[in-house]
């Protein structure tokens, strides 16, 4: 038995969960930022689950074909934006329910990803390089835990940039106006339709990049079960984060950590209830929604026109 892993015992669980909250939280972060941008403009995009799968598949395929993982990341963004275009086209039609459109895009996106991804399940694609911050420690668990995905830093940058965008720029104000009061926005000459289309397409591109993290960093392979509902949890996560991009960052870390409880406990020999622990992110999401939602009042920070037909 290895000395180090023997000596740290339960700390292994803690380090494992912390490491996983960054590793597993990155896709949550990118997808929830995409969803946040979309919802700020007043539309819900449940189709981000399909976008995530499509992003993961195209990232893996293009990384494999081109030999460069960064080409893969770009391809994932383009694929996400392409699905976003279809979604935006659907929801900008009158009388089309955006939740139902999201379900359709979920099925269509996963169909596309599984269809075109079939030949890429076997081969190994070049992975994104990790940024190692753990060189100072001689514990292998710690240095392994601090090998962080470059996309995590990208996500953090986007989160702060988005806060600045919403708070201090003219375009950010336009997006918020469209999401809060589309009629008023229209009256001052902002194109509601164009703003929403742009927000949905950019949000979907972010979701696609989140998918690239899944297939090119962690778990680091393309399989059909790779996203397992993360795109949908993002919708709940945005509610939890009160439509605030920086709070999306903290919420994503929490969700990423919750995902790792089961495997980390199993690693120290506790396999009792392993399958139930696997449900912990979903249970956590439900709990968060039960605690934060209310029938009596609208949530603080919620875009006024969210989910209404307009």
């Amino acid at each position: 038995m290895n000395d180090h892993s023997g000596s740290i015992g339960w700390w292994g669980v803690v380090i494992g969960v912390l490491a996983a909250s960054v590793r597993g939280g990155t896709p949550f972060l990118l997808v929830s930022l995409g969803e946040c941008l979309t919802e700020k403009s007043g539309k819900i995009n449940l189709g981000l689950e399909g976008v995530l799968l499509m992003g993961a598949m195209s990232a893996y395929a293009f990384s494999y074909k081109s030999g460069s993982p960064w080409v893969g990341v770009g391809a994932a963004a383009v694929a996400g934006a392409a699905l976003g275009c279809i979604h935006a086209f659907l929801v900008s039609r009158p009388k089309v329910n955006d939740i139902a459109a999201g379900i359709a895009m979920l099925i269509f996106g996963s169909g596309c990803a599984f269809y075109f991804g079939k030949p890429f399940i076997q081969p190994t694609a070049p992975q994104l390089p990790a940024i190692a911050l753990g060189g100072w420690s001689n514990l292998p668990q710690v240095s392994a835990a601090l090998r962080i995905s470059p996309l995590f830093f990208f996500g953090v940058a986007v989160a702060f940039a988005m806060r600045w965008f919403f708070g201090s720029t003219r375009w950010g104000m336009h997006v918020r106006a469209v999401g809060d009061a589309p009629a008023a926005a229209r009256a001052v000459g902002i194109s509601v339709k164009r703003t929403r289309v742009l927000c949905i397409v950019c949000g979907s591109a972010l979701g696609g990049i989140g998918g690239a993290h899944l297939s090119l960093f962690y778990p680091g392979a393309w399989t059909e079960a790779i996203s397992s509902g993360q795109g949908l949890m993002a919708v709940a996560l945005v509610i939890f984060a009160r439509w605030n991009p920086v709070q999306c960052l903290w919420a994503s870390l929490l969700f990423g950590g919750a995902q790792a409880i089961g495997p980390s406990l199993q690693a120290v020999g506790i396999s009792n209830g392993y399958y139930l622990w696997n449900a912990s992110p979903y249970v956590l999401t439900l709990l968060v929604m039960v605690l934060t939602c209310s029938t009596k009042r609208t949530l603080v920070g919620a875009p006024g026109a969210l989910g209404t037909a307009s």
Binding site: P94, V96, I99, I103, I107, Y115, Y275, L286, M289
Partner: protein
């Protein structure tokens, strides 16, 4: 934030409520034709999209459609295969269709199916010594209660806490599957199932039999009967009228004194019970035990069926048969055209997108307007 209801809304609501379902409008064929032509046209448009996709993949679309037709409806044998797949689709479609009339988008079909299947298995195993009809009856009740309570939770979260029903029901799909994995790997595990952890099996002679000398099991009857009941309940009873009124305008329904929460929860229970029967049928007629094969995607396909059928009971029977045929043709597409099994999912996605696009077309064609209205 919402303005108080004006007296007009209240008066209209009260008038509608007092009239009840008794007042029947004369049949208008033009709007009725619209309700048929637009969805059928959308499905055809989805097929055309898929045809172009086949061309793009260098397959002859006509040959592909001919193969799908042959595999689905071409012979009595293949049609039986289609019907076996249509049965759970009819039942899971109701899980989306019934709450849709309340204005809720519930997509917890897969979870309710899994929980219904688990509950039916547990109930069936508990009474496995009893004669076959008793075992089947107990399993049916178990499946209905399991699936029904599962979706009732979604309804409770919505009405009591305002939790978005689409997201909660979807999350509960994953929780249901985790619960199943927990049980078939632990408490309910048959030690002889090595590769694929499963529950103890239902005895062979207590399984749901097939109809006559066909391969089609009685689950098809359950499906058709459930759809017919749903049709009568939603379109021709006061209960259905109240539910549709809530779906039309929840505030007006409240003002008219309807017990919105109670009606909503009952509808959610019925919806979950239907999907629970689908799980029971899959266990009692197909797999014989509960394992991961239960989550085979019938729940998700059921969502599409409900939307194409516009959430009405009678069309669900037809649409489920149609989609059952498409699902049954997956094997042929793989063998004859080297198309991966995801092709069917992609096809479903295209039809779904076309159907949603068609939602924006209602009322856009002059032809379907009632003359002089």
């Amino acid at each position: 934030m919402s303005p108080p209801p004006d007296s007009n809304t209240v008066a209209v609501a009260a008038a509608i409520a007092s009239q009840g379902a008794a007042a029947r409008a004369p049949f208008r064929w033009r709007p009725a034709a619209e309700a048929i032509v637009i969805p059928v046209g959308a499905v055809m448009a989805g097929c055309v999209l898929f045809g172009f996709f086949c061309l793009f993949q260098e397959k002859n679309p006509i040959a592909v459609f001919a193969a799908i037709y042959k595999a689905a409806f071409g012979s009595w044998y293949s049609f039986q295969n289609t019907l076996v797949r249509a049965a759970p689709l009819m039942l899971t479609a109701l899980c989306t269709a019934l709450p849709a009339r309340l204005g809720l988008v519930v997509i917890g079909n897969e979870g309710a199916l899994v929980v219904g299947g688990l509950a039916a298995t547990a109930a069936g195993l508990a009474v496995q010594a009893a004669p076959m009809p008793v075992v089947i009856g107990v399993m049916l009740a178990g499946g209905m209660i399991g699936g029904g309570l599962w979706i009732t939770i979604v309804g409770l979260l919505y009405y009591k806490r305002g939790v978005n029903e689409t997201i909660s029901s979807l999350l509960m799909n994953y929780i249901a599957i985790a619960l199943m994995n927990h049980l078939v790997n632990g408490l309910m595990r048959d030690p002889s199932s090595l590769n694929k952890p499963s529950s103890y099996p239902i005895p062979d002679d207590k399984m749901l039999p097939t109809i006559g000398n066909t391969n089609v099991h009685y689950g098809l009857f359950f499906g058709i009967i459930a759809c017919l009941i749903a049709w009568v309940l939603m379109e021709h009873t006061t209960f259905g009228f109240k539910v549709r009124m809530i779906g039309g305008n929840i505030r007006a329904a409240r003002m008219a004194g309807l017990a919105v929460t109670r009606l909503g929860l009952i509808t959610c229970f019925l919806a979950g019970a239907a999907a629970g029967i689908a799980g029971m049928v899959e266990v009692a007629a197909v797999h014989g035990r509960a394992n991961e094969s239960l989550a085979a995607g019938y729940g998700y396909a059921g969502i599409l069926v409900a939307f194409v059928a516009r959430h009405r009971g009678l069309p669900i029977i037809l649409v489920a048969t149609f989609l059952g045929g498409i699902l049954a043709s997956g094997g042929i597409l793989q063998r004859e055209f080297k198309l991966p099994d995801a092709t069917i999912l992609l096809f479903q996605g295209m039809v779904f997108v076309a159907i949603l696009y068609s939602d924006s077309l209602y009322g856009r064609f002059k032809f379907f307007k009632e003359q002089g209205a």
